[in-house]
């Protein structure tokens, strides 16, 4: 028997309000997770494209953690929306015209060393650090976003902080 999940659309108003409330933090998180603002917008769009197909109960129980889980999965699995063209046709792809993120240039230049140290971490450790210290999720929400247990989240964050501190002090002479 082929088990096919029912295509149940959540209530559009609920999802729209949730996305409207957390979209800025979602894009900020994805930008520092992948290191590029344009790629981050593609990944956030891909994650929201999947979240638009989540059952309503998931959004009601998980809340914003469901959105961060969708975006994290999109970044990890290279799920972009609209899908990136392959082959020669990528040279003819249209550029995004009506979505313009704005980044604090002063803060971006000031934290250059932090970003370099962050880029050397593995994906899971980088995601855990950003979710905790940048976004402010607690361990329970992070466990839903990273699809692991809260104990694993605690170990992941501790290891990530140790590695990040070592690399940061090594870079910043």
């Amino acid at each position: 028997m082929i088990n096919v999940a029912a295509h149940v659309l959540p209530e559009s108003g609920e999802l729209a309000g949730l996305v409207r409330e957390h979209l800025t933090e979602l894009v900020t998180y994805a930008t520092h997770l992948v290191g590029d603002a344009d790629d981050a917008l593609d990944y956030v769009s891909g994650g929201l494209y999947h979240a638009n197909r989540y059952p309503p109960a998931r959004l009601q129980v998980d809340g914003r953690a469901a959105l961060y889980r969708a975006v994290t999965r999109a970044c990890r699995q290279d799920q972009r929306y609209p899908p990136r063209q392959h082959g020669i046709s990528r040279f003819f792809a249209r550029s995004r015209s009506n979505i313009h993120p704005e980044i604090d240039a002063a803060a971006a230049s000031r934290t250059n060393t932090v970003k370099r140290a962050l880029a050397t971490l593995s994906f899971d450790r980088r995601a855990a650090l950003l979710l905790r210290d940048l976004v402010g999720l607690d361990y329970r929400e992070m466990s839903r976003a990273l699809e692991c247990s809260p104990d694993a989240v605690a170990r992941l964050i501790a290891a990530a902080r140790r590695e990040f501190g070592t690399i940061f002090r090594e870079i910043a002479i």
């Binding site: 800025t24 981050a40 899908p83 082959g87 046709s89 979505i99 604090d104 803060a107 932090v114 902080r161």
Partner: protein, 552 residues
């Protein structure tokens, strides 16, 4: 309680239970190591939280959510105003509204001919209450009028003071809102306009032709049920079947003129009057339907319309295909561009995004162009021959006439020349690394050295801008090995420091010196003598500071 980074990190996040938190507090009183570690963790947490934030404007939020499909494009964001795009390119507006080039026209259209001055809005229409309003004389916008009425319509409208007669003073006003002001046209451009008019006419027709062809949407196709094509028929047969169906529809919808004349109704002509009729002011009412059956006399019963029988749908066969469609049918269908309708891209669930690159027709255009360039390159390519050097036959080269004279002396191979042993020189470096952005006006203020565990050795060049320099950018630097145990660091636009610093006893570097005079004019060359071959890595840091690491 034992020292644990996991407990410290969990405590920093406030996720420890009360009992464990109390134990940790007691432990931190006596353990300076854990106390310092908690401070480090707190600093790193603050560094992460100080990363730059990305702000998404409301119109971008709306565009992204509409693109994903969470909301419709016309839906407002919850708790916000309707989205307003930040800027609209002038070419996005219709080309016939302005002087900018539109999407369909590669040039700006000429300005319009100045029309007659638009009169001022007329005063409210005053009608005598005793006189009934005759609706049949009111001109209806957009309807067909008789030629006599059109002549009256083209006459100039009198001014309000002329149209208003003294007996209208005791009439009542009808409150009718005035239409919005009509924008004035710009003056006509001087100069020859014949070529421009022809050019615009061709461009407009070409744009209209392309616009009509966008209806040819092949992304939606009926595959079953009524209207579905036969799977066994070819594309050409399908087009022929659709044309035959269109001809049948046009023949069925045809109604003879007698039937139309019997059904239609025209308003009665006004009675001729001896006095010259004063032109009535036009009443700006809403357009009424052409056939208003309630205010009109009963029309005669329409005669039964003979419906012609639908023609037999011809099924083109193998031999009737050319006859029915013309000999150049295939050429016309091939030349007709097929425009794909924009559709929402599909992102598969649960798997990586993948699209077929061959589905895009532009790929084939690009491939065709590349193949054409390849063929042109192969056909026009030239065979190159080596130029004879003067060293091989100097006499023949100097005197072409002596080339035919045979030489009796045998040609001896040149004597072998011993290859010189490579010496250490800044001009012949191996494993070079280049850094910098070409800035000038820096001076080396100091040099520092550090021996790390594992045999690694670090050298730091501290630099600062000299007086009068801007100090922006990084000076160019080239580092490389003259031989395995000699490292050269070459700066451009940098003044060397007074000394090379204190070199600590190390196992890597034995001596440091600045080559005076510089073997390369305008460059500063530092020479490092190594005790054994090592691997070099270099990088610039803010300050600027140049850091060289020797490993191995």
């Amino acid at each position: 309680m034992r020292c644990s980074l996991l407990i410290l990190s969990t405590s920093l996040d406030g996720e420890l239970t009360q009992s464990r938190a109390a134990e940790l507090e007691a432990h931190l009183v006596g353990c300076t190591r854990c106390h310092a570690g908690l401070g480090y963790l707190h600093e790193e947490s603050e560094r992460i939280s100080g990363l730059a934030r990305v702000y998404i404007p409301d119109y971008s939020v709306h565009a992204l959510m509409a693109q994903v499909g969470i909301i419709d494009e016309d839906t407002r964001l919850p708790g916000t105003m309707p989205p307003t795009p930040p800027r609209v390119h002038p070419s996005a507006t219709e080309p016939w509204f302005g002087h900018d080039a539109g999407k369909a026209l590669p040039w700006a259209p000429p300005p319009r001919r100045p029309e007659a001055p638009i009169p001022e809005p007329r005063a409210p229409i005053e009608t005598s209450p005793s006189e009934p309003v005759d609706d049949t004389h009111v001109e209806i916008a957009g309807t067909a009028v008789e030629p006599a009425q059109r002549v009256i319509e083209d006459q100039p409208i009198p001014a309000p003071d002329e149209a208003q007669t003294p007996e209208d003073e005791d009439s009542f006003d009808i409150d009718i809102s005035q239409p919005p002001p009509i924008p004035q046209q710009l003056p006509q451009e001087a100069g020859p306009r014949f070529i421009k008019r022809i050019r615009d006419a061709i461009a407009v027709r070409w744009a209209l032709t392309r616009g009509v062809q966008t209806d040819d949407d092949d992304s939606v196709e009926i595959v079953s049920g009524s209207g579905a094509g036969e799977w066994t028929e070819s594309a050409r047969q399908r087009v022929q079947r659709e044309r035959a169906a269109q001809r049948a529809m046009s023949a069925t919808s045809h109604i003879d003129e007698a039937t139309v004349a019997a059904v239609s109704w025209a308003p009665p002509a006004p009675a001729p009057s001896a006095q010259p009729e004063t032109p009535r002011p036009e009443m700006p009412t809403q357009p009424r339907p052409l056939l208003d059956w309630e205010d009109q006399p009963p029309a005669p019963a329409p005669a039964p319309v003979p419906r012609p029988s639908p023609p037999r749908t011809e099924t083109p066969g193998r031999h009737t295909r050319i006859v029915s469609t013309g000999s150049n049918f295939s050429v016309r269908s091939w030349l007709k561009p097929r425009v794909r309708a924009p559709s929402r891209p599909h992102l598969p669930l649960g798997q990586a995004a993948a699209t077929s690159p061959l589905a895009d027709p532009r790929i084939w255009v690009f491939a065709g162009g590349a193949f054409l360039l390849l063929v042109i390159g192969v056909l026009t390519g030239k065979h190159t021959t080596a130029i004879p050097s003067l060293a091989q036959n100097p006499v023949a080269s100097a005197h072409p006439s002596a080339r035919a004279v045979p030489s009796s002396a045998p040609v001896l191979p040149p004597p072998p020349v011993a290859t010189p042993v490579p010496t250490a020189s800044p001009l012949q470096l191996t494993g070079t690394q280049t850094l910098g952005s070409g800035a000038r006006g820096f001076a080396v203020t100091g040099m520092r050295y550090a021996q790390h565990a594992g045999g690694d050795f670090r050298m730091v060049f501290d630099m600062a801008p000299v007086s009068g320099a801007t100090g922006t950018g990084l000076p160019n630097m080239v580092a490389g090995f003259g031989n395995p145990t000699t490292l050269y660091v070459i700066f451009v636009g940098v003044t060397p420091g007074a000394d090379t610093g204190h070199l600590p006893p190390s196992v890597n570097v034995t001596n440091v010196q600045v080559l005076q005079p510089s073997p390369i004019a305008g460059h500063v060359v530092y020479e490092f003598s190594l005790s054994h071959p090592a691997k070099l890595s270099s990088s610039y840091y803010a300050g600027p500071r140049l850091v060289l690491d020797l490993t191995g």
